[in-house]
Amino acid sequence: MRTIDDFTRPLEYLSPLDDPLGKIVREWAEEHVIPYRRSFDEDWKDHELIEPAFKVLMGELGLQRVLFPEDLGGWGLGHSNYAGTASYRLMEEVARADSGMAVAFGVVFWPLVMICMEPHVNRTLCEEFAPIFCNTTEPRFAANAMTEPQGGADIENFEIVKGSTIRTTAVLDGDEWVINGHKLWPTNSGGVCNLFGVVCTTNPGSEDPNDFAFIFVPADTPGVTQGPPYEKAGMAADKNGDIWFENVRVPAHYRAHGPGLDLLYFKEVITFGNMGSIAFVGGAMMNVYERLYQFVSEETYRGRPLKEHDAVAGVLADIARDIDIIRIVGYQYARMIDRPDLYGPRWDDEMVAKGRAYKYWACDRAIEDLGKAMNLMSTYGADRDWDVEKHWRDLKIVQLWMGGKQLCQAEVARWFFECETL
């Protein structure tokens, strides 16, 4: 019988951690997530079912430490030349079980990319924050506080707005930053965050890249308030909420890199976000394949399994085709991240634009395929028991986050066609 491992990957450039990591996470998923995930939707607020699974994955198996240097208790992935392909496999396997867990887990590394990745490691901040994640067996969460109330993820539209719409301010007062502002929606907010990376401006309304600041703020710093989680269509494991920063004071060296470099390396965060999104889509779709395979083999039409009906088989073929191609493209992009010597810096506009293209293409294909899969399943397609509708709800969220499709389209057109006013 065919399995998800029959979907194609570029075997010649998988990370050396691929097999052990994949095996560990798949076992974790089978034991700690898949048996419980149909009750996750009702657990969106309290995480009574979800939290224990995070504890095993992140704390006990230690996967929340992977990006930090070995001498600080990490696994050294930030110093490796396989951070992309290794983390792609991790995210794919977690998302096969639950893409909400995958994003919550993946976003732990999102702000840490700013300080843990070569060639721009900020050793001082690594030393400062490694204990939060490495000296515990409890799950610890980080979050990127970007989105703001008025323009949403429009602040990511750097080429046009150039940071001018950021309203969260950072003012240097002696040897401390004083931060004020209101953020919405970060993954791992809603009360669970331990460490925020906060997108700020040092000069409101300015389009000067030097005024873009990325500043770390431990969640227990006085003046930080996290609101309760929002209720969403899916992804119960990913908590999102409001965060208010009121005269929050952090040391001056908590700014990731300083004028100009903060914005430059922040684009790498977007690159990793795109790669992670493709992995979430690919992993979830592999589970859709597993569930759909079972369904169309068991259900019959005119005395034969549904999959043996020619017209149905045509749709099944389209779905399998898309999963295979999503996986190939996802690993290819991860490889591009691992080889800046061949493909250019991870923060380069080209890498960002290509990541956006792959991400929104993968999301579009997956949403269309999920709709068709549910349709083939007739009324069972809407049942929680078959899991497909869960992935449909979850992946719709992946499609919409990080500015949604239109921001992706603008960045892709801007780079490939050298548009000047988009």
């Binding site: 719409t165 999102n240 017209a311 007739s378 009324t379 449909w392 499609q399 499709k405 239109q406």
Partner: protein, 402 residues
């Protein structure tokens, strides 16, 4: 008030009844559902059931298509298809699941109560429920899955039928139905199939555990088994393929109209977003940006064309002297095509509206995502599109082995 008047429909087919009913239902949707749902979310007990009781019993929609002589409002002519479509659009704007409940009831009522072919004994049997002032007439259709065999069998016994099915899946409302409309293969009858109205409290009806589902919160969904359930002969509400197809054609019309109503709401939510949401910095709102405006235009197009199609289907069903009986093979295929087309349009339109709203699109607070879940769940009641296309090919290409 809503924006439904923006979307064209053939006005010459809508009479005074359709217009005044639409206005009443628009107000009902806003006061009984929209004004309360931020607080009550999708609570069946606190929001949906009270709203249904108001609609079905106080406003009296469960009596709308019922003959006057049996305690109804007497709008039981084929032209009621237009009345039904007009009403369902507005009800679905408030809640798609409640509208679908009404569509299922209308499909059953047309089976027994159409002027010229009123089945008086059936009406008498059903009037205590449908004419009731305190009992909700919720009908759960049990139709073939995968467009194949009926899920139930019925054997002719003295004075009626004995119905058997194990773990059958209703299209909706298995858990809260007061009546099942069960399409059965018939044994001991001249008819190969028929639809039997099975009271939910009948001996031998066993409802399974409720299932968690994507959408349609008004539908308490569960499998149901029928074990030697005795049904009086009069409750064979449709006998033979043509009458069964008429039930399906009305149900497909109902699904189309429900999808149109859902799109009205999605449009309204998106319009508000487009008026206020900024893109590319200050003073540039979504509706004024060419990229986002083009997506918003697609949504408006889907709503407009879906409404026109749905009203045309209602018109065809309302004029049997021109288009043949509702249950003709041609009309069923037309209804099936239009329902799939409109359901796919609703899926696309809600997808695109969500696309525009990014995180707010999937936040429950903004209410858009519930319409997206509802229209997808409703679409699944039509069965797989790939198999529906076999029916279309049989008709248009005279395929004989499909």
């Amino acid at each position: 008030m809503g924006d439904s008047k923006l979307f064209p429909h053939p006005r010459e087919w809508a009479g005074e009844l359709e217009s005044s009913l639409a206005e009443t239902l628009e107000r009902w949707a806003e006061s009984e559902l929209m004004a309360k749902r931020l607080e009550l979310k999708e609570s069946y007990a606190d929001l949906l059931e009270p709203a249904m009781r108001k609609l079905f019993l106080e406003i009296g929609l469960q009596r709308l298509l019922w003959p006057e002589e049996h305690g109804g409002d007497g709008h039981n002519r084929p032209s009621a298809a237009l009345t039904a479509a007009s009403a369902l659009e507005q009800v679905a704007r408030g809640d798609v699941g409640i509208a679908f409940a009404l569509a299922c009831l209308f499909a059953l009522q047309q089976s027994v109560a159409m002027e010229g072919s009123v089945k008086s004994e059936a009406c008498e049997e059903l009037s205590p429920l449908i004419g009731s002032n305190d009992k909700l007439a919720l009908v759960a259709p049990v139709l073939p899955l995968f467009r194949e065999r009926p899920q139930a069998t019925a054997k002719a016994v003295r004075g009626g039928w004995s119905v058997e099915a194990v773990g059958a899946r209703p299209a909706a409302f298995g858990g809260n139905a007061s009546l099942f409309a069960v399409l059965c293969s018939l044994e001991g009858s001249d008819h190969e199939m028929g639809i039997l109205a099975v009271p939910a409290e009948a001996k031998g009806v066993e409802k399974g555990d409720p299932l968690k589902r994507t959408g349609l919160a008004a539908d308490v969904h569960c499998p149901v088994s029928f074990s030697r359930v005795r049904v009086p002969e009069a409750l064979a509400v449709a006998l033979g393929p043509e009458e069964c197809r008429a039930f399906a054609a009305w149900l497909f019309l109902g699904i189309s109209a429900c999808c149109v109503g859902a799109m009205f709401s999605a449009f309204e939510i998106l319009r508000e977003w487009g008026d206020n949401r900024v893109i590319k910095g200050r003073d540039n709102v979504f509706k004024e940006n060419p990229l986002t405006a083009s997506v918003m235009a697609e949504v408006a197009k889907e709503v407009s064309l879906s409404r026109i199609l749905t009203w045309n289907l209602a018109r065809m069903i309302s004029l049997p002297e021109v288009y043949g009986p509702a249950g003709s093979e041609d009309n069923l295929v037309t209804a099936l095509m239009i329902a799939h087309q409109v359901a796919q349009s609703a899926e696309r339109a809600t997808h695109q509206a969500m696309e525009m709203m990014a995180s707010a699109g999937y936040a429950k607070e903004w209410n858009l995502e519930r319409y997206w879940r509802d229209v997808k769940t409703l679409q699944l009641a039509l069965g797989p599109y790939e198999l529906a296309k076999m029916d279309v090919s049989r008709r248009f290409y005279r395929a004989v082995t499909l």
